[in-house]
């Protein structure tokens, strides 16, 4: 097992319960209503705060096991980027507005910039790097290439991760479905090409493509 010893080994546990409550409420209030992908608190995220002890958070990212015992308030995004060194997942806003940090957490699309580490104990996380199987691109990635969607490309990892889950929910999406439920920001405005790619990806999905 890959063991990671965080820098935050002496986290302030007296305050962390309060912090957790704040962040979770913040997260649900913000995301549960304002964004297309309802976020559920991951199952198995129960924990006991043992005063004076350092609790180890175990999680899996792209099938690889990680342990973390630093600041439980740290957003998952920074664990993914800095600890697991998977930089395909991007920082854009830190408040779950833009979606550049979208990953799959226990099978659901979440904005990892507001998911605290305390909520991902025993969770399965998948990032953009895990979408490709061997040399075979995911069908959403294929559609993205077919329509040549990216401009700067910075938001596209998050866009693609969001669309993978969107298409599970809306296998035959209308333009209206896309407008209402795909809420990731692309500042380059690659949306016209993206809309075509989403429809194309839906046809690939129906054909049963990876």
């Amino acid at each position: 097992m890959f063991q990671y010893n965080g820098y935050w080994a002496t986290a302030l546990f007296e305050t962390h319960l309060i912090l957790t409550v704040i962040t979770s409420a913040f997260w649900e209030a913000l995301l549960g209503t304002a964004h297309g992908h309802p976020l559920k608190k991951p199952e198995g995220a129960h924990y006991q705060n043992q005063k004076g002890g350092v609790r180890m958070i175990n999680l899996s990212i792209n099938g690889k096991s990680y342990s973390y015992n630093g600041d439980e308030d740290m957003p998952l995004l920074w664990f993914i980027r800095e600890n697991a060194k998977l930089t395909g997942t991007k920082y854009g806003c830190g408040i779950a507005q833009c979606g550049a940090c979208t990953v799959h957490l226990n099978g659901e699309a979440v904005r990892s910039c507001v998911v605290p580490m305390v909520d991902v104990a025993d969770a399965n996380v998948e990032t953009i790097e895990n979408l490709i199987k061997g040399e075979t691109l995911h069908f959403v990635q294929r559609a993205w290439i077919e329509q040549d969607v990216p401009q700067c490309g910075y938001c596209q990892s998050g866009q693609i991760m969001a669309v993978v889950k969107f298409l599970e929910q809306f296998p035959n999406p209308t333009d209206k479905d896309i407008d209402n439920h795909h809420t990731n920001i692309c500042r380059c405005g690659s949306y016209i090409e993206m809309r075509k790619a989403i429809h194309l990806a839906a046809t690939f999905q129906k054909e049963g493509g990876q």
Partner: protein, 715 residues
């Protein structure tokens, strides 16, 4: 083929057997009649390995605008290379300004304009060189040989040699200074809608932006900057911040207090625990309203007369004709690139290495050298991919910050701006005001035009250090104030406020507000005089063939698409440059707007007719127009940064929203005239025409004036 001792191209075969081909500025300088000898430091622009695989070395920043792909198309087309053998793109590592006759800055649509000279010539020279090399092997006249897909072919016997079989010979040859260019009909890549070069990296998470730079020793830095513009640190206490696990160092820097930590989160938490006393400076009592008052004064007391021909005051005083005045207001606008500002620097005693997502690599390099007081050659600056640019990354402030943080801490530091930092410490498009009075005389001519503009002095912050605090540094604040229209009596003036607020270039620069006001006034005047607004524009532009053609083309589009019930339609024209210059574009815009059930306004359709000369990649060009529409709509709907007590109020996408996927135009139709004139990119240029066309459509739909942005009812 003409040969010269001073070849435009130089090629060498490296130790590993790779061909490196260079531009040679000496030859270029000669062609441009520059008499002084320029010592050339050659710029590598292509590599070819011994299987014929090609690496394109991008001279320009890749921030999504597509120019690296277009430049590769120009080069590989002209050299008749096989596009499928283009397997890799990398950023140029050149450090010297003298290598390029200009500073590699990626701004203002110049990539394609200059690329059409340099990359095209390089390709043609190279193609000629391969033919010469093959001719010498076969002992035939090179004039009888043809090239195709990285091969030189002898059509008389079908024999061929591939380019990579020839490049060893190439380095012995003097290549032509005046090569033979392919005709338009012979083009194989230019004009083709080829895919962008880095798409696969970008959809797999493998593209490396500035913020992704990583190596084991690297620490994360953040700066707490004074929230008030022009303020400074009075004192600070970092003791609480030091208790945050992961915080390594805290120290004062030029524009605030820096924190260096093991990771982003520790840096952020540490920064939140800093206790800083600020000297908020003179702006602490200044808000947007106060700035607007000062801008109002500047309309009356301008600093500069830009143009004064005929007698506008006298013509406007006459009672004949139709006269109208309009006042327009534009707020500060932020860039909000998806990748917030960041840079990585490692400063040691004798070396400084930097990784930066910059639009102005060499300017940034110069300024780092100046900041550290070191020689340029002790500094290495790697340019990375950029997560959007829109002009923000033309400034070097974020690079200097990283250098200072590393220099003072001794660590290699990736200095990251949070979104809040990025939005509150931007180089904004200046807040501005325009007042235009125009007149159409009884003959239906635009007989007088009086235009006053005010903005915040851009020159102290101009992206190009050499233009700072000069008259040229003001250009980005007033560009576009001169209408293309025939106007016998014209007076144009502008004034600027000296305020310590960082203002700079933002996609389309000042054309976004100057052309907005011009085009709305033209429409209002035409309507008041009962003249068809497109007809008026056509008449006023009839001496400029390219301008007339875009208007005439839009007239046809207009006739073919009658306005539907419930729609308001508006038009706008946009241009830059003058006949004879390579820097010219013309575009005509038409927008239909309708009411939604909730009373908001929806852009139903936008038509754009564009003449940007020959089109290198039509797919890329159209993608930029699509992009521009969303960008223009974001700005028009909610692109408003306001200042209270010297501090910017907006901080993130929740209070400075940008367009979602459903917030564009419902339909877009584009006509590229592609007339063969010198090519020009369009990344920023559409910002001049889209908003005024929509504004005119809204005025026609609602009967209400649109006197600037934001238009909060836009859906």
């Amino acid at each position: 083929m003409m040969q010269s001792r001073r070849s435009f191209l130089k090629s060498t075969v490296t130790a590993s057997g790779t061909l490196l081909v260079y531009f040679n500025l000496g030859a270029l300088a000669q062609e441009q009649d520059v008499t002084t000898e320029v010592k050339a430091n050659p710029m590598p622009f292509i590599e070819m390995d011994n299987n014929g695989n090609i690496t394109f070395i991008s001279s320009r920043t890749d921030m999504g605008q597509g120019s690296p792909t277009s430049l590769a198309q120009i080069l590989l087309d002209e050299m008749d290379a096989d596009w499928d053998k283009l397997v890799h793109v990398r950023e140029t590592e050149e450090t010297e300004r003298s290598a390029y006759e200009e500073g590699l800055s990626t701004i203002g649509a110049i990539s394609t304009i200059i690329g059409w000279f340099n990359h095209r010539k390089a390709g043609a020279c190279l193609r000629g060189g391969f033919k010469l090399a093959a001719a010498s092997i076969w002992q035939v006249d090179e004039k009888g040989l043809i090239t195709e897909k990285s091969k030189v072919i002898n059509p008389t016997n079908g024999e061929y040699l591939e380019y990579h079989q020839l490049y060893q010979k190439l380095s012995d040859l003097y290549l032509a200074d005046v090569p033979e260019f392919k005709t338009r009909e012979q083009a194989t890549l230019v004009g083709k809608p080829l895919r962008q070069l880095r798409t696969r990296e970008r959809v797999t998470g493998n593209a490396t932006y500035g913020i992704d730079v990583s190596f084991p020793e690297l620490k994360i830095g953040m700066i707490e900057r004074c929230p008030t513009f022009g303020g400074s640190v009075k004192s600070f206490d970092g003791s609480k911040a030091r208790e945050i696990p992961g915080v390594i160092d805290i120290f004062q820097v030029s524009n605030g207090v820096a924190i260096v930590a093991e990771g982003f989160w520790a840096a952020k938490k540490g920064r939140e625990a800093l206790e800083i006393e600020w000297d908020h400076g003179p702006l602490s009592i200044v808000s947007s309203e106060e700035i607007e008052k000062q801008l109002e004064d500047k309309l009356v007391n301008p600093d500069q007369i830009e143009k004064n021909e005929g007698d506008a005051a006298n013509e406007l005083a006459k009672s004949s004709g139709v006269k109208l005045s309009g006042d327009f207001n534009f707020p500060f606008v932020a860039h909000a690139t998806m990748e917030p500002m960041n840079a990585t620097a490692w400063v040691t005693r004798d070396r400084c290495e930097i990784w930066a997502p910059t639009q102005c690599k060499l300017d940034a390099h110069d300024q780092v050298a100046k900041f550290l007081g070191r020689n340029r050659n002790e500094i290495v600056l790697h340019r990375t991919l950029c997560g959007g640019g829109f002009g923000r990354r033309a400034q070097e402030d974020f690079v200097i910050e990283a250098v200072e943080a590393s220099h003072k801490s001794g660590y290699p530091v990736k200095l990251i701006w949070t979104r809040e930092d990025d939005m509150r410490h931007d180089y904004y498009r200046s807040i501005s005001k325009l007042q235009i009075t125009g007149k159409i005389n009884d003959e239906g001519e635009l007989s007088a035009w009086d235009s006053k503009l005010s903005f915040i002095d851009t020159s102290p912050y101009h992206f190009s250090p050499q233009d700072r605090n000069t008259k040229d540094g003001l250009f980005v604040g007033h560009a576009g104030i001169v209408p293309a229209y025939k106007i016998p009596n014209i007076n144009l003036s502008y004034g600027y406020l000296d305020l310590p607020i960082t203002v700079g270039i933002l996609r389309g620069i000042s054309h976004g507000y100057t052309n907005f006001a011009i085009e709305v006034m033209i429409d209002r005047l035409a309507k008041k005089a009962n003249i068809d607004t497109l007809e008026l524009r056509a008449n006023l532009l009839n001496e400029n063939e390219r301008a007339s053609t875009v208007i005439d083309t839009l007239k046809k589009v207009d006739q073919e698409n009658p306005v539907l019930n419930g729609m308001g339609r508006g038009y706008a024209f946009a241009y830059e440059g003058e006949p004879g210059s390579v820097y010219q574009y013309y575009s005509a815009h038409m927008a239909d707007v309708r009411h939604l059930d909730d009373g908001s306004l929806k852009v139903h359709k936008i038509w754009i007719v564009a003449d940007h000369g020959r089109v290198i990649n039509p797919a890329s060009f159209k993608r930029q127009i699509h992009s521009s529409i969303y960008f223009a709509l974001s700005m028009m709907r909610s692109g408003e940064i306001t200042m209270t007590n010297g501090q910017m109020e907006q901080s993130n996408f929740d209070n400075y929203p940008v367009s979602f996927i459903g917030e564009g135009a419902e339909h877009v139709e584009i006509k590229l005239l592609d007339n063969g004139a010198h090519p020009m990119g369009c990344g920023e240029k559409m910002q001049a025409g889209i908003q005024p066309a929509i504004a005119n459509a809204i005025e026609n739909l609602t009967g209400e004036e649109v006197n600037g942005i934001p238009v909060k009812r836009l859906a």
